[in-house]
Symmetry: C2
Subunit: 300 residues, 2 copies
């Protein structure tokens, strides 16, 4: 008798692997499909298009009583963080709204004004919208970005001995509201990609403890973290900094020979910290504490 696997056993990542296992792409047009922060389409010459979809659902990604403007802001900024995570600039977004029949129009207007304000701040053209009836409120953001004149940075490019770096500080994003108010690191990401400082790049959405292993796996390497170097938000201990998630900071690797130059030339107010080093494939990766991050389907 076949035992059907449950969602909880598979987890979010496992489910996605099962569902997309047989997807094939045309390598002439598509540089990167499933598995990185965004898909990458090769256009012409040194011009790349980035493509991303991301949804927020009431009760999962925001509380029902959250300020409507912040719900809209978060929906767009999460997807923007995925563009930042490859070093791309935003181009255009299309929004799907799922809405219950008796939803208040005033609340929806608040949500859309949050989307519009974030779009203006971060240079996104809002070019299409759809609405559908649903039992619960959800917003899906599909986003197009681009790299003009340089290549986007994948998760898979880390080299043995590369240093591991993060922007900002980690942990406590639920209690300090950063999960709603974060700034997608678009400029930092583009700078890292344009100047080829990053060998691998992604954003931290599920927590360093979940996301760094993904970067390491994509690059075929292990990693060692140095506990005391991990930058913690004021309200976060080391465990929180590794496990909380929703930091929306950049996580990247840089060749050790370029670390000094990177630190010197870093033109942003955003903090930059080196927190570890990439090790050999197969070596045991080292976390100071428990290693799991947030997974929608798994119960911790």
């Amino acid at each position: 008798m076949k035992v059907s696997r449950s969602l909880a056993a598979l987890g979010e990542k496992g489910l996605l692997q099962v569902l997309t296992a047989r997807w094939k792409i045309n390598p002439k047009r598509i540089l990167t499909g499933v598995g990185d922060d965004c898909a990458v389409l090769h256009d012409k010459g040194n011009h790349y298009l980035l493509f991303k979809t991301d949804a927020v659902v009431e009760g999962v990604h925001f509380r029902p009583r959250e300020k409507p403007e912040l719900i809209g802001r978060k929906a767009l900024c999460r997807a923007l963080s995925d563009l930042a995570a490859m070093g791309a600039a935003p181009l255009a977004a299309v929004i799907t709204l799922g809405v219950a029949k008796h939803e208040s129009v005033r609340r929806l207007k608040g949500i859309y004004s949050g989307i519009a304000r974030a779009a203006k701040n971060f240079g996104v053209n809002l070019v299409g919208g759809e609405t559908t009836r649903a039992k619960e409120l959800f917003l899906n953001v599909a986003l197009l970005g681009e790299c003009r004149g340089y290549r986007p940075i994948l998760r898979s490019g880390a080299g043995l001995g590369d240093l591991i770096a993060v922007t900002g500080t980690l942990g406590g994003s639920q209690s300090n509201l950063r999960h709603l108010l974060f700034t997608p690191r678009l400029e930092e990401g583009q700078w890292l990609a344009r100047h080829r400082f990053a060998t691998a790049l992604m954003d931290i959405s599920d927590g360093l403890g979940a996301d760094l292993p993904r970067l390491a796996e994509a690059s075929g390497l292990s990693f060692q973290l140095e506990a005391k170097s991990i930058p913690r938000s004021p309200n976060a201990n080391l465990f929180a900094a590794i496990n909380d998630g929703e930091d929306y900071e950049l996580l990247f690797t840089a060749p050790p020979g370029r670390a000094e130059s990177l630190k010197k030339k870093w033109p942003f107010a955003t903090p930059l910290h080196f927190i570890g080093v990439m090790g050999r494939r197969g070596a045991k990766s080292g976390f100071p504490v428990g290693t799991y991050g947030f997974d929608h389907f798994k119960q911790h």
Copy 2:
């Protein structure tokens, strides 16, 4: 005291207008934003990118007991029909899955195999997927398409005296399962756009009675339909042909001087019928029967 408008009073179209009223786009990059079947981004020279988002929700767009493969097929093909509706070819899609915690993995695999098969049949690269927890199953498809060497056809290009045409037959899509099994008219749409036969073009998703007024409004004209010319599906009467919706056929206008040539050169097995003519702005538009189409929020 302010009276808050309800969703039912606004309707789906009204809601979208309220929510997107203040969206601004950069006209250097964006040719068409909200209001047509897809957004159009101008790339270089005679190359255009088309961008679309569309969701299907359990209990709204498909029945819970529907065959999983057909749910996936429909989710992708609805968005493909919107590319056809502007004469574009598909390029790449990203899929968001919203899924309840105890959903069966086997059913989800069925849905994704329906998506993958349709993607293969219609030349779509599946390049990204996301999953999120939700109370009810939903699938959001974001789609990129392109026109290489010709311009996409908008809804707004109909001229006074242009003939109104439809592909296929209309009505009865729920009972004959065409709402699940329809073929997006991608080749027909591209042919019409490449050869400049269509002055305005869209697809019929909410019913001729809802969609033709949109084309007329976008073009600043009225229309007259000829009841006996409207092609009905075998199980549909005239009322059904106008009001049922989910036909996913093409609706377009053509200059009267080109109608004969169009009929002669039409290279497809898909039927082609002329059903009316575009009239002056402000003139009363003529439907043989009631004029409304499907609206998610309005109750008929």
